[in-house]
């Protein structure tokens, strides 16, 4: 006897959204983390680093779970490869957030006061991009639920466009920061300059990955 229940399997779209939630949770503490580092608040620093780490690990677990339950024999409303690509992009965001917090903490990296407001502004915009990515993820799940309804599609496309704008805003801020860094390079420790240059890039990567994830979804939605 065939059991009709066996044709229904757990949808991977809810875990995909949950994964993005954890990814966002690994990015959101970056700004307070930098504050704590600046203030030399070691307890807070430890706690925030743990938060980032835990979020990244939780995301990894969800990622593995999705991959384990995504055999080729599944029939999905989108291409399986696209889904895995979106998952990979999301995962890169959390990995980058962890790398940033690791380097900041290991080298106790403090930025000169003149550049701090710019940095915090930059990190804020990055967080905004990531949070927008999470909103897109929530709506994408709703889109699948609704059977790719027209209204949901339009709403998501608008949000994806917005991510693109936020990403280019982040690019501008990054360039300003790098310009300032190079202006001050003679006054700073040379090794610090190199690492900050690298860090600015890595922070920007978060917005880049978010944009890539959003654009991959754009392809799926437009199909």
């Amino acid at each position: 006897m065939i059991n009709l229940g066996s044709i229904f399997v757990k949808s991977p779209f809810k875990p995909l959204r949950e994964h993005m939630k954890k990814v966002h949770e690994s990015v959101a503490p970056l700004a307070p983390f930098m504050d704590a580092l600046h203030e030399g608040n070691d307890d807070r620093l430890k706690q925030l680093r743990l938060e980032i780490q835990e979020a990244e690990e939780a995301a990894d677990q969800i990622k593995n779970d999705i991959r384990n339950h995504l055999p080729h024999s599944l029939f999905l409303p989108i291409d399986r490869r696209d889904l895995l690509a979106v998952l990979d992009m999301q995962d890169s965001i959390a990995d980058t957030a962890q790398d940033i917090s690791d380097l900041l903490e290991l080298r106790k990296m403090k930025l000169p006061n003149e550049m701090r407001p710019d940095l915090m502004n930059y990190v804020g915009v990055i967080e905004k991009a990531c949070s927008l990515g999470y909103s897109i993820s929530v709506d994408f799940e709703a889109l699948v639920e609704s059977g790719f309804g027209k209204h949901h599609t339009e709403k998501i496309v608008t949000m994806i466009d917005e991510v693109g704008q936020v990403e280019s805003e982040a690019d501008d801020l990054e360039n300003q920061l790098i310009r300032k860094l190079f202006q001050m390079e003679t006054e700073m420790n040379a090794v610090d300059v190199v690492f900050w240059y690298q860090l600015f890039g890595q922070i920007g990567d978060i917005a880049d990955y978010t944009e890539k994830m959003a654009n991959r979804l754009r392809l799926l939605v437009a199909k």
Binding site: M1, S6, P77
Partner: protein, 421 residues
């Protein structure tokens, strides 16, 4: 001839017991698949599902179960070569019942995706080839049946796809989705009532002395469809969209409308299932009773006694009451991804396909049609994820069930023959 006279009552008792066992199995296993989408979509409560299944399975078996029964009991085999030894047919039909029953029990235990319909058809063809001869099988009819096993899920899937697309187009994508859901619901409900009653009533129900001409049945179906639409409209009118509704509120209100509509498709699905699947149990049973009662004459034109349909319907309800509710509960909790809009599309498509097949006397697998319809909804991008391995399992079971059913029935045929002659 003497065998029939000596053991006539034994044969009838055996046939009835095996027939009841088969219909019990259908009620215990297959009803859950027919109604699973309704319970899974939470359109009806579990108790309501049992009640609807009991009433409409019985009604389907009793009112519209005769056509497929006729095919099973005398459409597959051409009895001309054995007119002088009707006992062969009795042994064969008993063997077919026993073979199908055992194969289904084994398959259920192992969890294999086997169809009741395929088992019984395979078993009948098997004994006919071995016991009578290759010519005794009405091959063109068998071919029609086998082709229908492939066509019916595809047809159901296509219907489900179109229904889902129409719901997306007219309701979900509209500027005012909830308003449109309320506006269009009577039309969809009319479709439910119209399709099911048209196919059932077309040219009347002979065993109830209800003779209808083509136009008459058309008119009756329209009236029935309108009645269902009015009934549904009255219930749907009670669903209100909250003030300042969010998108989520709107979606859940639309699903509530479709949950109401699914009560009607659940009824028609149970009806369709009863009309198609009861024959698997009572077809061979009716053939045996027929031959023994007629003193050994293999009559082609005898009518189906009403009590046999009653036994069949009763057997299904009995199976549902004793074990089927358990299976239904399991399936209902497994299908969590299905919302009423999807369930409605899948179920209406399945019910229409199965009733159509039943009316033309073709035994199809209700479960396979249901799987086809769920896939159809999936193709309309209506579902999150579906397991295609089930489809592979169905193909394998097609290839395995027929020879196994045939072999088992040949085996039992010769055993019966040895015991009684």
């Amino acid at each position: 001839m003497e065998i029939l006279a000596d053991y006539g009552n034994t044969f009838i008792i055996l046939a009835v017991v095996l027939g009841i066992f088969m219909t019990w199995g259908i009620g215990a296993n297959d009803v859950a698949n027919a109604m699973g989408t309704s319970v899974g979509a939470k359109a009806i409560s579990f108790k309501q599902a049992i009640l609807i299944a009991a009433v409409f399975e019985f009604a389907g078996a009793f009112l519209a179960g005769g056509h497929v029964t006729k095919t099973i009991r005398k459409g597959i085999i051409d009895p001309t070569p054995i007119l002088n030894s009707p006992d062969i047919l009795v042994f064969g039909m008993l063997a077919a019942l026993l073979a199908a029953a055992i194969w289904l029990a084994v398959a259920s235990y192992m969890g294999w995706p086997v169809s009741t319909t395929h088992s019984i058809v395979g078993a009948i063809v098997g004994f006919a080839v071995a016991g009578i001869g290759v010519d005794a099988v009405n091959w063109s009819k068998v071919l029609t049946i086998v082709v229908s096993w492939g066509v019916s899920p595809v047809l159901g899937g296509t219907l489900a796809f179109l229904l889902m697309k129409s719901i997306q187009r007219f309701i979900l994508d509209a500027e005012t989705p909830f308003k449109n859901a309320v506006k269009f619901s009577p039309f969809y409900l009319f479709l439910v009532g119209f399709l099911i009653s048209l196919v059932t009533l077309f040219k009347g129900l002979k065993h109830l002395n209800l003779e209808l001409t083509g136009p008459q049945s058309f008119l009756a179906a329209i009236i029935f469809g309108v009645l269902v639409a009015i009934m549904g409209k009255m219930i749907v009118a009670k669903i209100k969209l909250p003030e300042n509704a969010s998108v989520a509120d709107e979606v859940s209100s639309i699903e509530r409308v479709f949950a109401v509509m699914m009560v009607f498709t659940a009824c028609s699905m149970a009806f369709a299932h009863g009309s198609n699947d009861v024959a698997n149990g009572i077809g061979p049973m009716a053939a045996v009773v027929d031959i023994v009662r007629n003193g050994g004459q293999v009559a082609q034109e005898s009518t189906l006694p009403m009590w046999i349909l009653l036994v069949g319907g009763g057997g299904i309800v009995f199976g549902l009451a004793t074990y089927g509710w358990k299976v239904m509960k399991t399936i209902g909790t497994k299908i969590t991804e299905l919302t009423p809009t999807r369930g409605f599309s899948a179920e209406l498509a399945a019910a229409a396909t199965v009733v159509l097949a039943s009316r033309t006397g073709i035994p199809v697998s209700t479960t396979h049609v249901a799987v086809g319809c769920v896939l159809g909804v999936g193709m309309a991008r209506g579902l999150g994820a579906l397991n295609l391995r089930v489809v592979g399992g169905i193909f394998t079971s097609w290839i395995i069930t027929l020879p196994v059913g045939a072999a088992l029935s040949i085996f039992f045929f010769f055993i019966f023959k040895t015991i009684f002659t």
